[in-house]
């Protein structure tokens, strides 16, 4: 910024996005945690590289009866009492870097990388679904008001009355067992799209409510009146005029929803109503590892630490993003209060 010869003039001509970017660039903590998130993404994207070239195994490949050579010494992957081998670092040339995952003797490191792909994918895609649906509902309710709003708001109230965990569990159980058929679309019980749709769906009211409120107040602004006077139709006003004014809120909610949805995925998978085997996520890894907590605590601690780091990085970055997009930050805690509910109930 200082290098620009005419900083004053540049500042006046800057768009709100540029200004926000400038504020964000100065927020070292937020950028640091964004860096952490990027590292985690790089880690899970490197899964095939590590699996093929270093560990020479796949995430579901079992090595129950095998022996490996660790620093010149023969060791069983799973010993007679069923205890898996612990982390061996690079002692076995990259095999079982973090040990094996239990009786089946699968490579923990490889599973951690592949499981992270599923967890992150579910977190991000379900958050997209949440934000997309919430935006549409918020715009419709806030723009049309009247009975449209009444129907949407009351439906939201009922879903809100449900503890998110219980709602997701109920849906997960009936759909994981029964599968889902909507018109031509059929999802079998084990499909990863079932948890995605459930997690994306149950979080909608927590985002739709504040967005609806914001649309209500934007609706009264002069620029909407001007658009009406120009003859713009409802679609044009909703998506051309109102939506751009919601975009910073939506972006912030998107990041925070990723975090909450990842926690919900872990909880559901732990309870057996989220990701179904043979698919692996950090949540299913915790579910598998918890029984061995007393003998092999790392099998629980590793995947849950990955979740903690990912969620923490997204939350802190989201906070920084909010400060950058909304310097007044008056809504900071209110927005967070709304966000706490889905997560707060995941216990």
């Amino acid at each position: 910024m200082a290098s620009e010869p005419n900083a004053e003039a540049a500042l006046i001509g800057s768009s709100p996005w540029r200004l926000a970017w400038r504020r964000l660039r100065r927020d070292r903590v937020a950028l640091g945690f964004l860096g952490l998130f990027v590292l985690i993404v790089a880690f899970v994207l490197a899964a095939p590289l590590w699996a093929n070239d270093v560990a020479h195994t796949g995430p579901d490949k079992t090595h129950t009866l095998e022996k490996i050579e660790v620093n010149g010494e023969q060791r069983e992957v799973v010993n007679r009492e069923g205890k898996p081998i612990g982390p061996v670092g690079l002692g076995a040339g990259g095999k079982f870097f973090l040990g094996a995952d239990g009786r089946l003797g699968r490579d923990e490191m490889v599973r951690l990388m592949y499981g992270g792909r599923v967890s992150l994918f579910i977190g991000i895609v379900s958050a997209l679904i949440t934000v997309f649906l919430a935006t549409i509902l918020g715009l419709l309710a806030g723009y049309y008001r009247g009975w449209t709003d009444t129907v949407i708001a009351r439906t939201m109230d009922v879903i809100w009355a449900f503890p998110v965990m219980l709602l997701a569990i109920a849906l997960g159980l009936s759909l994981a067992v029964g599968g889902l058929r909507i018109g031509p679309l059929h999802l079998s019980g084990g499909s990863i799209w079932i948890p995605i749709l459930i997690i994306g769906g149950v979080s909608v009211p927590y985002i739709a409510r504040p967005l609806r409120g914001q649309v209500f107040s934007l609706r009264e602004k002069e620029f909407v009146e001007a658009a009406v006077a120009q003859g713009a139709g409802p679609l044009r006003i909703m998506f051309g005029e109102l939506l751009p004014n919601l975009s910073s809120t939506i972006i912030v909610f998107f990041t925070l929803t990723i975090a909450n949805n990842m926690l919900l995925e872990a909880a559901l998978s732990f309870l057996g109503v989220g990701v179904q085997p043979p698919s692996t996520s950090w949540g299913t890894m915790i579910a598998g590892g918890f029984d061995l907590l007393s003998s092999a605590p790392l099998l629980t601690i590793l995947p849950s630490t990955m979740i903690l780091l990912t969620v923490l990085s997204v939350n802190v970055f989201g906070d920084g993003l909010r400060d950058a997009l909304d310097p007044n930050a008056k809504l900071r805690l209110e927005a967070h209060a709304g966000m706490s509910e889905p997560e707060g109930t995941a216990v």
Partner: protein
């Protein structure tokens, strides 16, 4: 006050009805397979499926099915076909453990939430305040498994300081009861305490700019009196609302915590039923859980109106 309470309770009944319809739809209508088949569980025989269809009236029209389901659940007539036991009895058996866990943990997080919130508002920007910000974000981001795994690993398996949960009846031995609940209480409380203190802090910071605070200072009240009697008391409202929501949700079963610490409450029962894909218990627990939330939400609103009379005016003016 009475009128507000009455209206709030009537609204509650409407929401309860909607919640029960939604539960019915989720379990019996939305999934594409036969509900009787799913309810029978893994060891289903055609005969069992036929008798379940008969018992729950799955051949009847939907409104009739809904009434049958509600009647069965609320008259304590639901049987788990996997476990062959009465579901409502098992839920009632789980109440002491679940309530002990939730009320104890709620008392801890409320106490420390208010204490930390108060201290960080009084010393906003100070070291404690900044430390609490970090704790709050960490608490929000923490998967319960992580905290529980760390506690169990270091305090139970490695050092044997605390038992790994397992509920002991309060009447049998109050000291063992508390000793066995320390880890679950702490785990649960840590997940909430940071968030509560942050909410209270921001409410108090807002309240400090109010005119009545200046008046209180001008009257010559001590700083402690100003903070305690005026600022803190006027900032507790949102915390009470949050508290009602969270405790209601937990009473419906703190499923993960109870499963992790084998506490033998409603949540533990839900966990076992989920692992066995046993539908009838889950159906009943989901319904009771949602009812608890709605009930506590209404109670919290009434308590809030009692703390802050403006709420009543605001809602009747709508």
């Amino acid at each position: 006050m009475a009128r507000f309470a009455l209206r709030r309770l009537l609204g509650m009944v409407a929401v309860l009805f909607a919640v029960s319809v939604l539960t019915f739809l989720i379990f019996n209508v939305i999934p594409s397979s036969d509900p009787a088949q799913r309810m029978a569980g893994k060891s289903a025989t055609p005969r069992l499926v036929a008798s379940i269809t008969e018992e729950w009236g799955f051949d009847d029209p939907l409104p009739q099915q809904y009434l049958t389901m509600m009647k069965k659940i609320f008259s304590g007539d639901v049987i788990s076909y996997e476990g062959r036991e009465n579901v409502d009895e098992r839920i009632v058996e789980g109440i002491p453990a679940t309530f002990s866990l939730c009320i104890g943990a709620a008392a801890i997080w409320m106490f420390f939430g208010i204490l930390f919130g108060y201290l960080s508002a009084v010393r906003a920007g100070g070291l404690l305040d900044r430390a609490l910000t970090v704790i709050a974000v960490a608490g929000i981001s923490m998967p319960v498994f992580w905290l529980a795994a760390i506690f169990l690993n270091y305090l139970t398996y490695k050092t044997e300081i605390f038992p790994s949960g397992e509920y002991v009846e309060l009447v049998a031995d109050p000291i063992e009861w508390a000793y066995h609940l320390i880890l679950p209480w702490t785990t649960l409380a840590i997940l909430y305490v940071g968030f509560y203190s942050r909410v209270l802090r921001s409410n108090m910071l807002d309240a400090m700019n109010e005119d009545y605070v200046r008046t209180a200072r001008a009257k010559g009240l001590s700083e402690r009196q100003v903070m305690g009697r005026h600022v803190l008391r006027n900032s507790l409202g949102p915390i009470v609302t949050l508290f009602g929501l969270d405790v209601g949700a937990l009473l419906g079963g703190a499923i993960l915590i109870e499963a992790i610490f084998s506490l033998n409450g409603i949540g533990q029962y839900a966990y076992e039923s989920l692992i066995n894909t046993d539908l009838p218990p889950i159906m009943a627990i989901v319904l009771f859980g949602a009812f608890f939330v709605v009930l506590f939400n209404a109670l919290a609103d009434i308590a809030y109106a009692y703390l802050d009379p403006r709420v009543k005016l605001g809602s009747s003016a709508q």
